[in-house]
Symmetry: C2
Subunit: 298 residues, 2 copies
């Protein structure tokens, strides 16, 4: 089983980026405690907002190539993907450590283990929003990403693709390149309406463009255990797609959002713990553990 | 000054729909306390998710025509917009009251004043996401909405347009039809990155397609006064565009999100108050008051 996973939901703000970034990082890093072996992971940002790079403190001005270059590249020869296009684990580690000291000016020592070894990033920026119009007239516009990834797909254990909040050509490219789709659903009312819309779109893509696409899982995000609305939405989603909803709900926790400001995903910034700063980290580690278990069961 | 206002921000989940719905409703209803006279308002939903209709308890299956029909209609003759396309104030009132009794089964009496007189709604649904591809080959694809609204623009005091979380053809149509753009910004870190992206896009639209487009205002949403990150984002946005940020920040309040579940905007569901259920309503009424004051100053 090749794990190429699109993290998608056209509803805005449901934690697609936060989930893609923390899942990819936890899979790459691995943890004995959560029984997740380290793995080689590629994180692809297919959203022109480019929030994946920000999540690791990577400065946009320093980025040489992005997903835009990959999608519109017409030269046809095998691209030197690994060296030219991807941000390496060393560069990601360097950016995180620099971003950390910028945010924590008064502390001397950068945490020893703030670093990552097995994670590569294909970043994006605003130019990517031009790709939708530019590609719309080209033959095979929906499968550009799948073709571009073919030469390197075997070098990774997991490829995780963050997508924009829409069902346009960029998300369709991600859903064609992927064989799995992972769906974060915010525990709020409008999210219910979007969920059935997404289910229909996945069915359409399965029928017309990518027969292999299957739903890997659904994660409930920004859950507030005290709110009747939150629990109502969780129950509704559970009843629509019972076996796919991950057991670990991700609660709304300030430290998860603050991690983006510090420039490192919460799973490596905060030590997992039952409460306090590490609560969100623990929840994303448990989610990753369940991801790994479900892969093993296949 | 014709007030045609696009509520836009390509960042997902920053409260575009919640702001468009509450602003349009408060402008239509009016309030002596907040010194806002009642006005004739058209709310247009240009997001395929169709969350505006949901906000008033309007059932999607009952909708006859949507924004999709308006945008792709090629017959060219003057469309019978008001009767055929728009949901009337009576129908909106009826939907809200029905949705209210469904959610509050045990209570007998529907609140007397749960109703609206001066608000018309052009709803949308999933078909609208097909419009982006269908229109992309047509001449004048960016100005379809502006042309379609021309015959009825003088019948309303305010036209408020909700947009999807992207800068595709649908949002561009809204920004071409509008002479003002109102920008909700969530007080979270990723939102900062999106904000400068949006500023650049607005400049491009001003230069190339709609010389009249100006920024009417920026509203900080889902603010948490206790969070350093939240205050940091508010300060950053304030420093980038000082005179345009509305004085009233909208806090993250559960009752604002729950109103969508009940099927009525919080400004008419909850009596404005300093704390408790009416706090969000008061904040959106203050925002509407400031909107009205800024219109007066022009
Ligand atoms: N568990 C959480 N607790 C608190 N805040 C969260 C959590 N997960 C995400 N957030 C915050 O909520 C906001 C939305 O999350 P995020 O940007 O990841 O969603 P998205 O689906 O990628 O949005 P978009 O649709 O714009 O791409 C961000 O500001 C993020 O920091
Ligand atoms: N002030 C608030 N307090 C609490 N929740 C809020 C507030 N405003 C909006 N919400 C909730 O946050 C979520 C996002 O808001 P909303 O859907 O209005 O944003 P949007 O920008 O329209 O999203 P999209 O990008 O998907 O169109 C919704 O579930 C909404 O109910
Ligand atoms: Mg995102
Ligand atoms: Mg919306």
């Amino acid at each position: 089983y090749k794990m190429v996973v699109a993290v998608a939901n056209q509803k805005g703000g449901c934690a697609k980026t936060t989930t893609a970034v923390n899942l990819a990082t936890a899979l790459a890093k691995g943890s004995k405690k959560f029984k997740v072996p380290p793995a080689k992971v590629l994180l692809i940002d297919l959203d022109p907002q480019g929030n994946c790079a920000t999540s690791f403190g990577v400065e946009k001005k320093k980025i040489k190539k992005t997903a835009y270059d990959l999608l519109v590249n017409d030269s046809g020869e095998d691209l030197p993907l690994m060296e030219e296009y991807l941000i390496s684990p060393e560069q990601i580690t360097d950016s995180m450590r620099k971003a950390w000291s910028k945010r924590n000016e008064n502390s001397k020592r950068i945490p020893e283990d703030l670093g990552i070894e097995n994670l590569w990033l294909l970043p994006s920026d605003i130019h990517l929003s031009g790709a939708e119009i530019e590609l719309s007239h080209r033959i095979g516009r929906e499968t550009r990403l799948r073709e571009a990834l073919a030469p390197i797909i075997d070098q990774f254990d997991h490829i995780i693709i963050d997508t924009p909040p829409s069902l346009g050509l960029l998300s369709i490219n991600a859903l064609c390149a992927a064989n799995w789709v992972f769906i974060p659903v915010q525990a709020e009312y409008y999210a219910l309406e979007g969920f059935s819309m997404l289910m229909n779109s996945v069915k359409m893509i399965q029928k017309r463009i990518n027969r292999n696409l299957k739903i890997f899982g659904v994660a409930m995000t920004m859950v507030d255990m005290r709110s009747k609305l939150s629990l109502h939405v969780c129950n509704e989603v559970q009843s629509k797609i019972p076996r796919k909803v991950f057991k670990t709900p991700i609660r709304r926790l300030a430290k998860v959002a603050e991690a983006a400001w510090t420039g490192a995903p919460t799973v490596i910034l905060n030590k997992p713990s039952n409460s306090g700063a590490g609560a969100g980290s623990k929840e994303y580690w448990s989610l990753t553990k369940e991801y790994h278990e479900r892969v093993q069961e296949m």
